[in-house]
Each structure stands twice: as C-alpha cells, then as structure tokens.
C-alpha cells in the first residue's frame, strides 16, 4: 500500500516504494531502518566475538565456521595475530558505535520522540533521513575496511596512539584510515540526529505537555544528545590530527616527532567517557517507561531521576582520566579524577533506588519486556559496583587492562544495550509493527540470554583478578595463565550459548513481523502519548493534535475508575504540570 494520508494536514500523497521505504523522511520508517541496521551489525559484532573467544580458548586451532575467510586474513579457519587484533578492535567499535547508538538512540529515539510528544514528525525530517544514510555509509566503510591490504583497524576500539598513528605498528594502513573515516561519518550522523532530537522536543510538544510532563525516555534521549554534542568535538579534532599523523607525516601523537601519545588518550576519553552515558541513558530511559506500566504505579522520584541524570551528565565530563591511571599520566591528576569517578556513582545509585522504589508495593506482572527490564537493573548494578573498584586508583593499578575491566564494561553496556534494548523492542514492537511478539519465545530468549550472559562474565572477573591481561592473542604463551585456561574454555562455551540464545529472538522477530497476533492501539494499558496514536501509526501520527492533561506515569490514582490515566484524556483528577 503506497497511498499515504498525512493526517496532520489532511493531504494525500502517493509515494513510490523508494520514497516510502528507502529514502523515507518519516521518523517511524527511519527509526525502523536504524533498528534493522543495528540488529544486522549486532550479528556482525557477535560473530567477531565468537572468532575471538575461540582463539583465546583453543589458540591457533581452526575456528569452526571460519573456513570461508580468505587468506591472508585467516588460514583455513586459523586466526593469525593480525586478524585477532582486528577482531578485538572491530568488535568494540561496531558494538558501541554501530549497535549501541543506532539501536537505542537511532531506532527508539527517532521512533518515539515525535510520538511521545504528540508531534507529526521530527523538526527536520530531511536531516533525519540524511543522518540515517550517513551512518549507513559509515557502516559500509567499517565493513569495507576488512578487505584492504593489511586488514582493518587493529589498534583497539580506543585507537590508542602510537599503535594507531603509524602503519608500521599494526600493519593496517588503509584499514585504519577507513576506521577514522567510518567513525567520522557515525559522529556526523548522530550530531544531525541530536540536533533533531533537541529541536523537536523543545519546539514541537503538544499543548499542555510541559518539560516536566515529558516521558523520561524523551528526557534521557535529549540529555544523551546534549552530552554527545558537547563531548564529540575534541575527538573529531583528535581524529583529524591522527589522520594527519598517518598521511602527511605530522607528529601530534608520535613521540619521536615531538608529539605526545598521551594527548590522544586525553582527547579520546574526554569524548569516550561521556559517550558511555550517551549509550546508557536511553537504555535506562526505556526501563523507566516499562517499570511503571507493569507495576501499575507512578515512577518513584520523577524529577529526582531527571536531575540525577543531568548531574551525572555534567560529572561525566570530568572523569575521563580514570581510564588513564596507569598510562604514565601526571600523578597529580589521579586523585581528582578518582574522586569525581566515585562521585558519579551517586546519581546513578539514586536512579537505581528510584527503580526499586517504583517496583516496591506495585501490582507486578511479568511479560517479556518487564523481565528484560528487571534483568537490566540486576546486571547493571554489578556493572556499576565494579565501576567503583576501577575508579579507585589503587585498585585500578592492579586490575587495569585485565579481564576485570572487560567484564565490568560488558556488565554496564550489555545490560543497557541488549537487555534494555530488547525490553524496549518487546515493549514497543506492537506500536512499531502493529503485531505482538510471541511471549513464550520471548521468555525463552530472556532466561537463556540472562543466564548465559552471567555465566560468561562472572568468571571473567575471576580471570581478571588472577591477572589475565585483555587483548592477548594466545594466553598459553604465559606460564602463569596456563592454570586459568580451562576457565577461558568454559567462558567460550558460555559465549557460544549466549549467541545461540539469540536464535529464539530472531525467529520471534521475523515470525511476529508477519504472523504475530494483531495488536490494539494500547496493548499494555500505558499512559504516554505514543499509545494514543492508532496502530499501525499512519504518516503524520495523530488524527488531531492531542492535548495533554496529565503527567506520564499516573497509574492507580486514588479516586480514579481505572488504574491508568492516559495523558491525553481529560477525565479523572488532573494534576499540576
């Protein structure tokens, strides 16, 4: 069906296939494009994790299923050190920049922000389309970098100089240049997206929808957009300097030419630490929408959550050097950054307590989105608490660059991107595609993912405390690591299980897309405006511009006939803005 009615201003448009599904300016289609891109890239990143884990567990044996990779990248499935380094680098780069951001910000930000604020589209729909096609190009560049001589970037996802500054160190020449280019495209894409998120939220809210009646998901998206815009500048500048070092012989990051490799680390982490909150906040935002709906209770501490995340956003700009305690940085910087790092756990602890207080005494039900939401909180707490270990310089000096840090990182971003992202996908799938996802497959997916994830990463903490370095090609080269090799093999089996555990999701996703039970407009009895739009949502979203009379989380109000109070319905006791 290509005949589309723009309900907002009542005209009928006949868009062809290309304009409707490929070069679409509809925020919902763009959101879905981001969704498919990020899920595809997640498969690529997951496959890389498998190759990497196999090499660590059974070094220099043929990886089952890697026989197709041509020489000299791999030899009959045996992974050489150069390709291993490329896998480590690209797994990180792809999962953070081409899965986490497009999944949580690209897909859900684009799809939800206009719907949640009662707007007909984004403020700049064409810029929105451009932002998707820019990151699409960035993804192509990243994947293409594998096919160049010397392979793709292999200086780690942080691209530390001097490894990244000169091809002689890693052998990757054009691969590394393309890595810089791909990241630049990705940053450009999210700058355009962020401008759109902010402008749309500030200027296009429905009448009655004050900033403090906004759903928290919107707050988290725009906070993330602001943090991203303020932090990305130094890294873009740094990336240009790095490219100059590599191509025209400058020496910004090369010590023998008078430069300073540490400068790269400062520039990278000035962006890199705020960046983890850019990915984190929208994932938490999804949880904030899901918890009240399935507790039938208002969220606890609505304004406190908003201010906490803003404080965390501000603090995130002055914690970056905690990644550099053992880098040879000036020791006078260590204590201030240790203190700010431990301080930043306070606002997040407040948010987590608000989550628990929301659940407390609620009428809980446990459909798949709620299971994923609670799973996110449980696992994210472990990630947060181990972050305090890493932030304390004396502890960090021992565990830095071990698997402890790898495990900590995965305990923060895996729950957020995948558990939180899946929670969001199971929750908003009915609104996105007009059909419900299968509950049984969803629950199998949840329990399998949850158990396998913990079985992978809890032993990794133990490995890290045992001194097992990250990013090494062959642990058997070190005598002191040999006793831990069985644990490495165990982790690899668990990681394979974790990957297999995504098969129920893939089946569920595609089956539900075409054969799932038809969803009503508001299958979860939720309050926020996106559920007031018809399902499937037409071009232009709302038949008439909705007016807002309530806050977003007014569940089980005393004196109300139902246990929910949609934002756009005037009935029931009204509350102040």
């Amino acid at each position: 069906m290509s005949k589309e009615e723009h309900a907002g201003n009542g005209h009928t448009e006949d868009l062809g296939f290309w304009r409707k599904y490929i070069f679409s300016i509809d925020h919902k289609t763009i959101g879905k494009q981001y969704l498919f891109l990020s899920l595809f890239m997640a498969l690529v990143g997951g496959l890389m994790a498998y190759y990497m884990r196999w090499q660590i567990a059974w070094p220099e044996t043929a990886v089952p299923g890697a026989g197709w990779i041509p020489e000299p990248t791999a030899y009959d499935g045996i992974i050489p050190p150069e390709f291993y380094n490329a896998l480590v680098t690209m797994h990180g780069t792809i999962m953070v920049f081409f899965v986490g951001m497009p999944f949580l910000l690209g897909a859900f930000g684009n799809f939800l922000i206009p719907l949640m604020i009662g707007a007909d589209d984004m403020a700049f729909p064409r810029l929105n389309m451009m932002s998707f096609w820019t990151i699409f190009l960035g993804s192509l560049v990243m994947i293409a970098s594998f096919f160049f001589e010397g392979g793709s970037a292999s200086a780690g996802w942080t691209g530390y100089a001097p490894l990244s500054a000169d091809p002689i160190h890693t052998g990757a020449n054009w691969g590394m240049n393309l890595w810089i280019l791909g990241l630049a495209l990705e940053f450009t894409s999210f700058l355009m997206g962020g401008v759109n998120f902010l402008t749309t939220t500030v200027t296009m809210r429905a009448p009655g929808l004050s900033m403090f009646r906004l759903p928290l998901m919107v707050w988290m998206q725009i906070t993330a957009a602001v943090i991203f815009m303020l932090s990305v500048g130094p890294l873009i500048a740094g990336a240009i300097l790095l490219l100059l070092d590599r191509t025209i012989g400058t020496g910004f990051f090369i010590a023998e030419r008078g430069g300073d490799p540490l400068l790269w680390q400062h520039l990278f982490w000035f962006f890199g630490h705020p960046e983890v909150y850019v990915v984190l906040l929208p994932g938490l935002g999804a949880i904030m929408e899901i918890l009240p709906v399935f507790s039938r209770k208002p969220i606890f501490g609505y304004r406190t959550i908003i201010w906490s995340t803003i404080v965390a956003g501000v603090l995130s700009f002055i914690v970056w050097a905690h990644h550099m305690f053992v880098s040879g940085m000036d020791p006078r910087l260590v204590m201030p950054f240790s203190i700010t790092t431990i301080l930043i756990s306070v606002p997040f602890a407040i948010v987590i307590f608000a989550f628990m207080a929301t659940l407390w005494g609620g009428s809980l039900t446990f459909p798949t989105p709620m299971l994923f939401a609670i799973g996110t909180i449980l696992t994210f707490i472990i990630g947060g608490v181990t972050g305090i270990f890493n932030g304390s310089a004396p502890v960090d000096i021992y565990i830095h660059d071990t698997y402890f840090v790898v495990s900590h990182f995965h305990y923060t971003l895996f729950p957020d991107v995948f558990l939180g992202g899946f929670a969001a996908l199971y929750f908003w799938f009915p609104k996105m595609f007009g059909r419900m996802m299968n509950e049984t497959l969803g629950k199998i997916h949840f329990w399998w993912t949850m158990i396998a994830f913990n079985v992978v990463f809890i032993p990794m903490f133990v490995l890290g405390l045992g001194g097992h370095m990250r990013r090494i090609y062959n642990p058997l080269q070190y005598d002191f690591l040999k006793p831990m090799q069985e644990m490495n093999q165990f982790i690899t089996w668990a990681a394979i299980c974790l990957l297999i555990g995504q098969i129920p999701f893939i089946i569920n996703f595609f089956w539900s897309l075409f054969k799932g039970k038809k969803a009503g407009d508001n299958p979860w009895n939720a309050n926020t405006l996106e559920w007031a739009a018809p399902t499937p949502v037409p071009h232009g979203n709302f038949a008439t511009v909705p007016s807002v009379y309530h806050g977003p989380y007014e569940y089980s109000l005393p004196g109300s006939e139902t246990d929910w109070q949609p934002q756009h319905l005037q009935s029931g006791p009204t509350t102040s803005a």
């Binding site: 303020l230 932090s231 300073d260 540490l262 400068l263 400062h266 050097a321 940085m329 000036d330 910087l333």
Partner: protein
Amino acid sequence: MAESQHAHPNYVLIWAWLLVLLFVSVFAVYLPFSQTLTVTFIFIVAAVKAWMVAVYFMHLKFEESLVRYIAVIPVVLFLIMLVSLIPDIVYNK
C-alpha cells in the same frame, strides 16, 4: 515559530577573511619573532577565526541571549580540558 528578521551577513566575505587569517597563521613562522611569541600569535589568530565562525556562520550574532549563554558551555568544557592537560603536556617534556 516566526522566522527571525535579520540581514544575512556576507558569508563569502567572512570566508575570504578566514582564508586570509589562515595564510597569516601559516606564514607567521617566517616572521622574525621568538617561538613563544609566534605560537601565541597563531593561537590568537585561531581564536579570532573560531569567534568569526561562531558569530557569523553559526548565527550567534542574531540569536537571543539564551542561545549565546548556551554557547558558553562548550567553552567552559574546553577550558576544563585545557587546564587538565597542562600537567601532562606542559610539564612532561
């Protein structure tokens, strides 16, 4: 949202000035000054260029005062970063 009424600056002229300043900063190394003075001069020229981009190309000259205040935030962050880099970059020769 009402379209703000203001005369557009002559973008090409601004761009030409930016190019002139670029050449000035590139060829400043040939001036008979000490290294410290030359570097200071280049940084001042760079700051002027950044100011011109912000004021004209980014339209800060034609925006409300709130927008101008918002534009101060990245400057503050930049200063924080610069100060934090001093121990590493200036003292660790």
